[in-house]
Symmetry: C2
Subunit: 393 residues, 2 copies
């Protein structure tokens, strides 16, 4: 199953701070898809499959009608959770193409938080019914993503002697990379460590700059079979391996966490995904040149780096502060577009576009000789996912 499909086109709308877009979320999504088709050298009418995640509001029937798609042949969603579905969607698209259900699947995410509500604040969630695992969270004020993940990251920091310096490093690297990327919402807005440390608490240990942006925009890629991929203008980025996963964690786990009394409580839920991913790929962390780690919160990125096998948890702070994730000379430059923190938060899908650029040699923070380009999605949410793109089949 290695490299049976490839990404042959990428596109995105203009990325905006939430509320700044003048187009509707649906229009932004159409724009991203049109540009991805153009980049692939196909007519948008030849798209015959649609895949997204996280209950994307931009449904295939409406998009297909607006775009003039001749015949829709596949429509699927990576199911359950939020931005953890980024690489899950690539898995669904790869499966659809590999099994022959469609020739050109557009895999995308449209998200205009300025038009449909923000993710970051507490709000009525099913009338805040404290049922299931929510019974262990809602009564204690753990009601929104920053609070969910803060207690997980806090425990990781405590157990492994990791400090705010590691969290800062993730944020500073993203902002640094964004200064070379004119698409980035935070382009021209560099961040210093002093500004990072002065920024306000959202919920300890997360300051303002530890949290992903809120954005309006859309991003899309065109997935086709490896055989067809060679006939397109741009260098294919083969879907070398993708994995979606969740281990059994006991009844308290629910969708978002291990049991609170579980030694594995401070997890990004990526260990099982990493095992699947490296096994399917037939390679290991040492073979990857560049990675995009979904930054919901910087602390979760630190944990994801460890769970994918790039650093030991007890040594990750030294590893980070030694410059390993910095462009251009680090061992593993990450979030080379600026990522969720500084390019835009398109529920993480913009990271896939950047992973493709790295394979093509088109990034504004291009890493030399990229053969394997990694995307890791939504650390801490379930089912977690990750994918490896490759330069050759």
């Amino acid at each position: 199953m290695r490299g049976t499909s490839a990404i042959v086109g990428i596109g995105e709308s203009t990325y905006y701070k939430a509320g700044a877009a003048t187009e509707s979320e649906f229009q932004l999504t159409c724009t991203a898809i049109r540009r991805a088709a153009e980049d692939a050298g196909i007519s948008v009418k030849d798209i015959d499959g649609f895949v997204s995640y996280a209950n994307d509001r931009n449904i295939p029937t409406r998009l297909a009608t607006a775009l003039g798609v001749r015949e829709l042949r596949f429509s699927g969603l990576a199911w359950d959770g939020g931005g953890n579905g980024v690489a899950g969607a690539l898995a669904v698209a790869d499966a659809a193409v590999t099994a022959g259900y469609a020739n050109y699947v557009v895999c995308y995410r449209g998200l205009a938080q300025g038009q449909f509500g923000r993710f970051g604040q507490a709000r009525e969630r099913g009338r805040m019914r404290a049922e299931g695992h929510e019974a262990f969270r809602i009564p204690f004020g753990v009601v929104a993503p920053a609070t969910w993940y803060a207690i997980i990251a806090r425990r990781f920091l405590y157990e492994h002697g990791t400090t705010e310096n590691s969290l800062a490093e993730i944020a500073l690297v993203s902002y640094d990379n964004a200064q070379r990327n004119p698409r980035a919402v935070r382009y021209g807005r560099p961040l210093t460590k002093e500004e990072y440390l002065r920024s306000r608490w959202i919920v300890e240990p997360f300051r303002l700059y530890d949290c992903c942006q809120e954005s309006d925009g859309a991003a899309a890629v065109i997935v086709t079979s490896a055989d067809r991929a060679r006939d397109h203008p741009k260098k294919p980025a083969y879907i070398w391996a993708a994995a979606q996963g969740m281990e059994y964690r006991g009844a308290a786990g629910g969708a978002f966490g291990a049991g609170y009394n579980d030694p594995e409580f401070p997890t990004a839920h990526l260990k099982v995904v990493a095992r699947q991913l490296w096994s399917r790929a037939g390679i290991g962390p040492q073979d990857v040149q560049v990675a995009q780690f979904y930054e919901n919160f910087t602390g979760m990125v630190v944990m994801a780096i460890c769970e994918l096998g790039f650093a030991d948890p007890d040594e990750v702070e030294d590893w980070l502060l030694a410059g390993n994730i910095r462009w251009p000379n680090g061992r593993l430059p990450i979030n080379t577009s600026g990522g969720n923190l500084a390019e835009a938060y398109i529920h993480g899908f913009e990271l896939v576009n950047e992973a493709v650029r790295q394979v093509r040699g088109e990034s504004t923070s291009q890493v030399d000789n990229v053969y394997y380009s990694l995307v890791v999605a939504g650390p801490g949410a379930l089912p977690a996912s990750a994918a490896i793109l490759s330069a050759e089949r």
Copy 2:
């Protein structure tokens, strides 16, 4: 892609009239999945993929935790629309297994309308915003499924000289078959043509018995690779072909209909699906021995029968009244469990279980020598879908 995967287990909860279940929808879903695993001769812990449709509330992470699944490896949803996703879900499951993402995918639907609200009545849909194609429906009182489909079926009847006798035949056949099926909610409640004709109008041309039931229950099947399928206790039902589709219909079409001024307005949206399905299967309607047609409304079943190629629209009434869909001697017995009308309305997924029984020889209205068993989903909704199960690979 023919027969690369197979259904090796089926299960269902007790089926109830909506509101009559004492278990929760989630418990009903767990029961169906446990029974499907048992029927497949596997531990429920070995399920590693979850696929459903229509925004099933019973999400994989919660199910996997409750069922003790060891490792979840795939989680996907057939996307967009309602019961039209039945065969789309089989396509997603088949793709996941065929591409190697999971070994045992459970494909299922849990639906307790008595616990979460009914589909059949007008209600606030996004505050009834008459945007997009809804601008052509909501102001005229076309606000719920029966009204959406009534105008489509009415036009078909008008154009092809079809009468209430065709609609009655669909309902009577389903009720007749249900009298042999103790699982059916309407078991022991036979329906005569006189009772059918006396029943109240829901919206012309649909009477009470033209509309699917409202039920509480769940149904599930286990999909695995064709290679593994041979090692399971029950005879495999191979997924010979599946198709999901939508043709371009112009901007007025939206998710539910062709433009109102379109000559193709009275369609079940299955023509494109039929073309894909027969082409992928390498067979035609003449090769199928038994079929399960999703009965949202009887009129849509009549149209679906025509669009799949079993009868010409101008002759379908004669074809129906000649007994062609009656068990046991009709050319194509349909809805042999009683279907949505008389077994239970599990958003149509119970039809998949019955299609498998027909391949195995386990139906209470068993057709002789079944080699190809057809399921047609949600006529009139988009993207439409259908699948063919086969007795051999």
